[in-house]
Amino acid sequence: MTKIGLEVHVHLNTLRTKLFCSCSACYVGKDPNTVTCPVCLGLPGAIPVLNEEALKKAIMVAVALNCKIAPKLLFTRKHYFYPDMAKNYQISQYDGPGSMAIAKDGIVNISGENVRIRRINIEEDPAKSVYPTGSMLNSNYTLLDYNRSGVGLLEIVTEPDITGAKEARIFMEKLRSILEHLNVCDCEMEGSMRADVNISVEGGERVEVKNVGSSKDVEDVIKYEIARQRAAITQGIKILRETRHWDNDRKVTIPIRLKESEEDYRYFPDPDLPPYEISDNYVKAIISEMPELPDNRAKRFVKQYEITEYDANVLVMEKALADFFEKSAKYYNNYKKLANLLINDYLRWLNDRNLKIADSKATPESIAKLMKMLDNEKITIKIVKQILPEIIDGKDPEEIVKERNLIAITDRSYIERIAREVIEQEKEAAKAAKNDPRVINYLIGKIMKKTSGKADPIYTREIVLQIINEL
């Protein structure tokens, strides 16, 4: 059986400051090495002090993932020599003497299946390595930017309970939605959610693919690795334990040999960071301030808007989409139709173009106007789909319809005239249509084409059926 485990690193990028110092956590786009201080540069004698907000966010995530929360906050030094960590250890957490993870033993439900969470650690991010050739594999030196050094991370580790590429993707998306609902992470930011993916197939050892940047890439990595590992085993080649790197351009994984081996991190409790008690009351106070989580929001959507469970779950998988649905629902009250448009047309159109919800300039008012024009039979569903991209571009639906004269044709005698013209040209099809509903749709399509999608679809169908019956 295929076993997949994920180690997800989440940037605490909604915090104002880094984890242990008061440098800004917002390092993206800043000149290299301009957001540092003695603590995040790792200068001797500098004392780290934890950001209180980071602890609160970690506890919220632990609660959302149904974990047990540690009674004490304890930090560990994880030692290694690497140019991205000047003090030669990372402040992290570890289960060992005098040390423990902030949370463990959680569960996340992914479409009916439970994925166990082994633990959650709070840790600091290392500096950013930039490679002069663009790739770590053929650069003979590394350029270091310490702006990222010391930014807070949560490391969320699952048990190897995931069985396929798609499940892994859904897990990542659900986790992302939880993090966004809790305002723990602005996951739109590049590199804000990275995963190390562990994959083993039957008859092989565990292979780790490091630093995968998105849920789509996690899915691609797993598909690739399962195929590669299975093919190797079929050919009698052994799959040994190794670390690989995901080449996003070529969509392949390649083995990497890192200079630092993992065998001996020499963990010990960080003497700079005395323990901090996490009392039940402290946790209770945080829970009472927690925002609504996606699962609860989906349940509320089913109750409040009477949409299907399926639609509700799709909407809450992306916080921005769920927010847009609720805002639009203030202006338009056929919620089922609204959910349908947002999921099947709006979201799909954006996804097909690799755009994010945040890229859309559509307003809740314009979506409501569009749907009302459809309900009032001012425009046809064809026109709705046709002009949706322009509404996403920020245009007003009423203006588009007026400017381009897209108002639905409801004049029966006009539609009948067009229908008779089409059927005259399509005599064979018209005969066949008597016994084959697909051919009726073909004829309706022809009429729609002639009227640029404006003929009222219900009238058109009635008229076509009537003419065919006369034949």
Binding site: T17, F20, S22, C23, T36, L50, L73, Y82, T142, L143
Partner: protein, 96 residues
């Protein structure tokens, strides 16, 4: 835990500390290590079965508010750095 000071240990320490130890230094180092370990072994003479391990002399730490304060400017931050390029620190390659 009994630690045996031998060539294997020296080799391991050499690798962990990323330093090269010359053969002439090895014997001196073994002698020093043995003395250090012996010194710490004094603790084993005490009955500590009823003593909880102490990891921090201070019972409870403090937390910091999530409020920014100014960072160092780049000249200050990089004043100890020998090799630089366009505001970056130059470090060694990280793959073999």
């Amino acid at each position: 835990m009994k630690v045996i000071v031998d060539d294997n240990l020296i080799k391991r320490l050499e690798r962990l500390a990323l330093i090269e130890i010359k053969d002439v230094e090895k014997e001196d180092l073994k002698k020093d290590l043995n003395e250090i370990i012996e010194f710490f072994n004094k603790i084993d003479e005490l009955d500590l079965s009823k003593t909880e391990p102490l990891f921090h002399p201070i019972e409870s730490g403090k937390l910091r508010n999530n409020v920014e304060s100014p960072s160092l400017n780049r000249e200050e931050a990089l004043s100890n750095v020998k090799r630089k390029e366009n505001g970056y620190i130059i470090g060694p390659s990280t793959v073999e």
